[in-house]
């Protein structure tokens, strides 16, 4: 009598564990139940992995009233979302994936909590697979600010750095709560005025960082003189449990667009040792590659930008992107199935030759999302 009377939104069903995060995040935001079947059903080791389980636990932590059902083998997941709750939390992320894996989804959810989110995440801050915390700090936060999510409390603080395989890093992410988002018109990326970056090294010689910086500068100096790459060498308890080093670079334009690239050394005991010079050079080239792709949002945050556009008021939002990443393409499909929203996509070839590759102008009308969790007084 009680719950069944109200029309529960129809359940969406998917197969496979890929894009699990997107699906859970969108299900939470849209309030629609979700069923994922055949998670690694054919593999030797079927079912959810530890990092996925950890992610699901995190989702459970930030929401109130979610129902999560996983079958015996872990190959089927049913998720009925609750309301986003937030508050002060702590979470131990699985060291098999970086904190970025978790943080990316939290960035999507955090503005729509009941209480401002203030969460301590522990695990691997920088690895080779996921966008590192440094990159997210440098790119995602300015992006959130463009949508009207700003304030003092919006910050990512890296307390400890942890490298794979053992991790031991710790960050603090806090985000204020918003009721509605602003529409954006973000079609002109502008020209790159400066390049910044961080070269970090933990439990290795501090010289590694300097060597990376030197080599990266060597390549980037051909384009721009305004380059400053910080070296960050953490010691003692702040340096995590495994040795490693890496570099992340960001290019900022006059219009506030931030493009990024990063590379990290191979984890201890896996693969061959990497020379820091090589790493620096490769990262600089990656950054140039990213510049070539261009757009107003870097390739890692495309989906975040598109999500925030979708969740805007019923107004037209526009954003110019570089080529869509496969992750983004999938995200667009998911946006359509969860929110019935389609983006208008126009390819734009830059008029002049020397402005990189083709771009895509994404246009959509927001769905008029409002934060149902926020309390009014």
């Amino acid at each position: 009598m009680a719950g069944s009377a109200a029309g529960e939104a129809q359940c969406l069903s998917y197969t496979g564990c890929n894009f699990l995060r997107q699906r859970l995040v969108l299900a939470t935001l849209s309030g629609r139940p979700l069923k994922i079947r055949k998670i690694r059903a054919k593999e030797e080791d079927p079912g959810l992995r530890d990092f996925e389980a950890s992610f699901i636990r995190l989702i459970d932590k930030v929401t109130n009233g979610s129902r999560i059902e996983i079958n015996q083998t872990g190959t089927t997941l049913y998720y009925q979302p609750g309301l986003l709750y937030g508050g002060s939390l702590e979470h131990d992320c699985s060291p098999s994936r970086g904190i970025g894996y978790y943080l990316e989804s939290l960035l999507c959810l955090a503005p729509f909590m009941k209480h401002p989110l203030k969460i301590v995440l522990r695990g691997v801050t920088n690895d080779q697979v996921d966008p590192s915390v440094d990159v997210l700090k440098a790119t995602a936060l300015p992006l959130l600010k463009k949508f009207g999510i700003d304030g003092e409390s919006l910050e990512i603080k890296i307390n400890r750095r942890g490298m794979p395989p053992k991790g031991g890093g710790e960050i603090l992410f806090s985000c204020p709560v918003r009721k509605v988002l602003q529409p954006v018109q973000f079609t002109d990326p502008g020209k790159i005025k400066r390049i910044r970056g961080t070269a970090y090294s933990v439990r290795v010689s501090p010289q590694m960082a300097n060597r990376m910086v030197e080599s990266a500068r060597g390549i980037l100096n051909k384009f721009l003189p305004d380059i400053y790459i910080y070296t960050d060498h953490m010691k003692g308890v702040n340096s995590g449990k495994s040795p490693g080093f890496g570099i992340c670079l960001t290019a900022e334009t006059i219009n506030g667009t931030i493009l990024s690239a990063e590379l990290a050394s191979n984890p201890q005991g896996q693969g061959t040792a990497v020379l820091p010079e090589e790493l620096g050079q490769n990262c600089a080239k990656l950054l140039l590659e990213e510049v070539y792709r261009g757009g107003c949002v870097d390739s890692t945050n495309q989906s975040l930008a598109l999500l925030l556009m979708t969740l805007g008021q019923r107004d037209v939002s526009k954003v110019l992107l570089g080529p869509l990443s496969p992750y983004t393409i999938e995200f667009l499909r998911h946006l359509r199935s969860f929110f019935q929203i389609m983006f208008k996509m126009e390819t734009k070839t830059p008029e002049e030759e020397h402005m990189g590759g083709e771009k895509v102008l994404m246009t959509c009308v927001g769905i008029g999302f409002c934060n149902l969790s926020k309390t009014i007084r």
Partner: protein, 1318 residues
Amino acid sequence: MEEKEKKKHRAKQSGPKAEKKRKRYLNELGIGDEENARKRNPKAFTVQSAVRMARTFHRTQDLKTKKHHIPVVDRTPLEPPPVVVVVVGPPKVGKSTVIKCLIKNFTRQKLVEIRGPVTIVSGKKRRLTIIECGCDINTMIDLAKVADLVLMLIDASFGFEMETFEFLNICQVHGFPKIMGVLTHLDTFKNNKQLKKTKKKLKHRFWTEVYPGAKLFYLSGMVHGEYQKQEIHNLGRFISVMKFRPLTWQTSHPYVLADRMEELTNPEDVRINPKCDRKISLYGYLRGAHLKNKSQIHMPGVGDFTVSDVSFLPDPCALPEQQKKRSLNEKEKLVYAPLSGVGGIVYDKDAVYIDLGGSHAHEKEEEEVRPNQELVQSLISTHSAIDVKMASSKVSLFLDSAPLGSEDVGQEFVMPKEERQVDLKTGRVRRKAVFEDDEKENDDVASDEEDDQEEEEEEEEAVSEDGSDGDDENDAEEESERVLLREGMAVRRAKRLKTEVPQEEAVNELPAFADSDDDLELSSEEEGETAPEDSEVEEDEEEEEEEGDVQRTCEDESSGSEFEAANKRAESKQCDMDSEHTETKPQISEHSPKRKAVLTTDSGNCTAEEASESEDENSSLEEGDDEGESHEELEAKESNRNGFQDSKAKKADSVKHTKVKTVDTEDDDDVENLLREEEEYEEKIDLSGDTTGALKWKEDLTQKAAEAFLRQQRSTPNLRKLVYGTAVEDEDQESEDADDELGGLFRVSRPDKASKQKANALDCSKFLVEKPQDWDLEEVMSSIRDCFVTGKWEDDKDAAKLLEEDEELYGDFEDLETGVVHKGKAAAGGEQSGSEEEEEEDEKMSKPEPEEEEKKKERMDKKRKLKEMFDAEYDEGDATYFDDLKEEMHKQAQLNRAEFEDQDDETRVQYEGFRPGMYVRIEIENVPCEFVLNFDPHYPIILGGLGNSEGNVGYVQLRLKKHRWYKKILKTRDPLILSLGWRRFQTIPMFYIEDHNGRHRLLKYTPQHMHCGAAFWGPITPQGTGFLAVQSVSGTTPDFRIAATGVVLDLDKSITIVKKLKLTGFPFKIFKNTCFIKGMFNSQLEVAKFEGAAIRSVSGIRGQIKKALRAPVGAFRATFEDKLLMSDIVFVRTWYPVSIPMFYNPVTSLLKPAGEKDSWSGMKTTGQLRYERGIKLKQNKDSLYKPIVREKRHFNKLHIPKALQKALPFKNKPKNLEKKGKTPKDQWRPAVIREPHEKKISALLSALSTVNNYKIKKAKVKHREQLKEYLKVKQKEDEQKFKRQKEAKKKVYRILGQREKKRQKSSLKGSSKGEKSM
């Protein structure tokens, strides 16, 4: 003499003329011009007080800012939907009359009966949807949510009624639409003064309720059953120029006020189970926000549904094309009310119906046209009145679509044959409504069919008779009856007809036959007299035909022409045709009694598409190139012709898959993978369809499509296809190309070899670079050279260029003093920096002048630029924050409008959703059968769109206040019906109040005059939404029905409301301040939980729980601030969380049978149940009040220990102040009595002493004064003496000093003297 008698001219002392003269006179004097008083008397306007000035300034600013509303983006579409005008009022106040008059005023048409909304074109830019609101509170609530304008009818002869106030309060809660009052029944006032008084009284009351100055209309009297034309005209004018404010709820949710309903259920399903869930389609203008396909909607009174399909149709009541005329012509004054049987042309997704009104309607119009025939008409009509009335009484029952009580329905469906036997006429009608479709499909019910056919033939015969006779009124009447009878069914049937017709493959499925009887009648009438309506209808038909043509892209021309021809034939001689058709296809003629279905050959295609999955639809819509589209259609047709009609959806899928397969064979592995991936996402596992026949031609198709694609450049739709995945073959090729050519945009990450792996691949958002370019090469580097600030800039941003332009602007000037002209550099000048140039410019002298024209042009350019800059500076400078915000919103609104303007509706709908103003058809599945069976057009059907997760349920917290006019207070845990968002539902609220420490404490009842919190389990609705509560929606009470109002504060999935719980215990052993207490807890564990808790005795002694005791169980040790008595009761105050009952019961009033729709009753309160069943509440004896008897309090004596007494100081020692006993009489002292002489002596003595005393006193005073005087004198003397002494001393000292000096001098001399002397 006569001249003298003439009246002398008197100058006007007042009035406009005098005023003018006075002004002129004053002006001549130079002191006129009252506005110039400031100039004349500046002193009077100087600042008197700065403080007051500041205050007045503040106040004016306050008032100014008070007028501001927070600017919102104007999201009204270019072609707005019709304005919803709700006519509301108590019964018998004249609502329908007002509506009829308004419709007549706008459209010159007279509607007989109004059911459901009526849409009319009221002006060049405005349409109105007028709907009547009954007194059922359900209807009132629903309509208040969708109303733009409310016409509030008030019976002036009676005054305000509760309904009016209730509606006003409903409006207030759900966003306040515009409200206009209309006073009717003013002709009942005979006394003019009384009338005036009433008007004034009512006006002021109305103003207090709405807002001061709200518009109130007076409809003074009736003329021939209608209101006065001029008054209605004025009312209409006001309505059509009214402006509306956007209401939050309405602008943030899409909604449709449905004006048409069709049932689409598969008749077979209905036959098998008459109570099966139905599939219906609803039509109406979309209002509010954009509606997305597959979104959730709520139908108030029915429930929540998911839209299974939405499509937009051509506007049935379109605004006129842009013209320069001032007024509408007759053709443009459209009226559309399908529920009332007025609509002209009715478009459907794949069919078009022409409404010919039914013969009754024409009769009425005839009357209207020829009022002089009224008598004859009435005579005729009375002639056949008995039959008609008999029939129509039943008929009208049916039209309301509730002829069948629920039991009847059941009977009917279970035993149709018996039903038929009961009453021939009604049986026939009913059976038709129910079994029409069965007949087609089930041949085994042959007998029924035969009967039907016979009847049909009879009908047709009658028709033919009509046609031949032309003016046989009786028959015509009968016929019209039948038409009317079928009207109700037509609503339900129309859709079925549409779905079934395509199955008939014959070419001669001409659409005109079904309605032939009507046509016939028309023609017969036309013979007699000119009926404008008829001609209009005909025109409409033609128009509609044309539009139908346009609508279909590949309409068969031949069929169209055929149709036209058929139409003509139908008009000229239809008897033959009809008979033919009845013979060939009786079922079709039976289906469309009222409407003609314009069906083309490709309608089959449409249905196939409809049946296929949404992706397929999308593909067909999105297909940019015609080829692709034609393929699709071909496919569909092919499948149709092949005769696989049972599983169309499957077919469509399989078609796609075969396509896919062909591509597989051709293309490489990658493509295959991609395709598989696509399949994964579309989740089409259904591969059962067999389409081997279709394979061959499809191979070609794919190739062709690929070629066509190659010809096309990479364009947007392809990227869209890539993402949203429809045209598979296009996409992969395209991506390949991109890879080869650019290596940038379309580099799709190759999925793994098997799609299964892809589904379980690594979930990572990074976009890895697959083919890194060699950034050491110069050309590669140059490809991004301009992305940096060091690269080349665009012209409009290049600093150097801008400077140059500035130079042009400001560079040249003329030195006025010297007359030297300084010239700026030409545009092509060098790239020096500004400052240098300026210096150079100064040095430069004027060049020889170039051509005259060029110069002029330049000057103009400069002027323009300067003006722009000036504007920018000054407009910006003045702008406030508010203006900026407004400007921003305005810009956004413009962008919203412009963004998708150039796209066609099909594409636009996909991006934006269906935009408000469109006429949409919404398909809904799984609707309860009662909705269809008990359909009553008098009750509004609203489809309210729900936002994200608004379809879910959870705990909702509200701020609630009992309505001040509601007589009772509300009790916690009593079921209450809430109207919140679109919904009406019954739930069990719990009232609470928030304590100062944030605790939510349960209340048993709502406070009388205060807000309190309420929490219930129900639908999630955005915060800030208003709601109202009623205790019951059934029946009527004289009292005010709205129990409470409020607003949603918070939504959550868990809630903590607590109530106070006092646990009591009794001391069983008392030490000094410690005692053992039992009876409070039941175990040591419980005690442990409460260790340290504060406890208190009833007498107010505070204490604390210390520790549990071994025995007795649950006893504990506690300490108090004082010693307890054994008679004390000890208690601990705790808070116990209350669970909120998960009860949510939507009010399904529309599912009730006709006539009982206002009698929905949900859960009863315990009070009601007790009352109904006569159960008396057993009262707790202890709770009863008894007279209080207070014994007199007796206090013991204060006892102070002796030791203490000793220690006390004497002051505080208790004194032994025992009263002395009475002195015995013998110890009494005798009184002295004086002799007279002695008396005299003593009197004299006392007198003397008095005198003496006085003297002494006087002397004392005198002496004191003397002393004072003396002291004064003495002081003076002393002062003088002191002075003198001082002077004397001074003298002495001076002398002494002099002497000293001398001595010193002399001593100096003396020494020398001495030395000399010595």
